[in-house]
Symmetry: D2
């Protein structure tokens, strides 16, 4: 059973535009992180803030990204993400960014995140109630 896909719209800002008049390559990844933060609370029902209150945080350990098409100022990025794997101590999130203007895929890839204890900085086993919330 595949995990649900959620989306978040993000306005492209002038400070995101590079010398070629396109969305700067690293900002795609900032949009992905923004979408996950938004979706954690809104779609999974457990925001980053709630993780932090429990003494947990998430660390980005690996990222792979393919740039497909340019995005321009005036357009809005629609960031789709879904869990690909939910593991004992982390997860892999697949993402796809589409242009709102054309609906074409501009970028896709995946990020690996590990859940850590804020106190020790070390990875921890994800508690069952979190696994449950995120198994949608």
């Amino acid at each position: 059973m595949p995990y649900s896909t959620f989306s978040t719209e993000i306005i492209i800002r002038p400070d995101d535009i590079d010398m070629n008049q396109h969305l700067h390559s690293t900002r795609y990844l900032d949009y992905v992180l923004t979408a996950r933060f938004d979706q954690m609370g809104r779609c999974y029902g457990m925001s980053m803030e709630e993780f932090i209150k429990l003494g947990y945080s998430w660390v980005n350990t690996k990222t792979y990204v393919e740039y497909k098409r340019e995005m321009k100022l005036g357009d809005t990025a629609v960031v789709f993400t879904h869990l690909d794997q939910l593991q004992e101590r982390g997860c892999i999130v697949q993402f796809e960014i589409r242009s709102k203007a054309t609906n074409k895929v501009c970028c896709n890839g995946w990020c690996e995140f590990v859940m850590v204890s804020i106190e020790t900085g070390r990875s921890v086993i994800i508690p069952d109630f979190i696994i449950e919330k995120y198994s949608v």
Copy 2:
């Protein structure tokens, strides 16, 4: 007769947050620029793209900003701007950024912009049809 005030909502991104868990001070100004780009096309009927097609651009020459309250991740910035002065070769834009969550003013100030010829890089007299479009 005062000029109209327009507003633009901007999602706060994780990469905008600083080591104190607040919106980083210089990002307020990036939100102001984002709002102006959005409002140029949507509210005044002449986008930056159209200025560029005519060989014009706008340069930010002076900025004054007062930081009033912190903004946090999870909130949305509502950026209000209005023309304060529309001059022969430029304009002064007043801005105010409010928290969508509390409606409180987090930051305000003004920016001076000068219209330039892309070819020469020098300031130019703003044509009447542009003055008219922006006199709302």
Copy 3:
């Protein structure tokens, strides 16, 4: 007796360049903050880290900036700062950014900072031993 002026060199990064191939306007202020962090430890002998250990932090309350000349990729920014006023609860820092290539002033202005207690978030009276360290 005027306060000492210190300088910090900052490499211009591609992600700092805007759609006009110039250093993006808000990055000048990020360069100023970078220079102050560098100079706090290196030139005044009391780094931000040491302030934080004592339960203090600094908040930027007002900023005024004048943009004089464009900066381009390949150049290095030389950021000069000096205290203009050292007050009971804060200070005003004057800054000037020069191009390393041409030595011309590209931007200048000032920032007002207030010292706060991390615990309460409120302004505090700056202790004498800090006033002394910064009175150079």
Copy 4:
């Protein structure tokens, strides 16, 4: 025969630090791009500016990054890059970022770049004289 490795030092700026007091994940990639721009002119003898004058540009098509260790404000990033493959229409650049304070590897990975014609936006065959300059 392996290609040469070059390095560039980059000061960590306050606006690069995230809510966890660490260098924000996407900035590592901005540091890699900064290092390549620096090294193109300084180490290979053909800067991005010279590519642009000839009507060429470089587009980042794929990136893979592994985050190994946190970096903090006050440290300097030392970015090592080398060509892994120099292909008909592009190249693969390997990178490694070390802490100047500890000399430990904080992040590594690779980027694929394709050379394009600015006029058409399409990939082009890299001319022999460029292959030669970059075969060091």
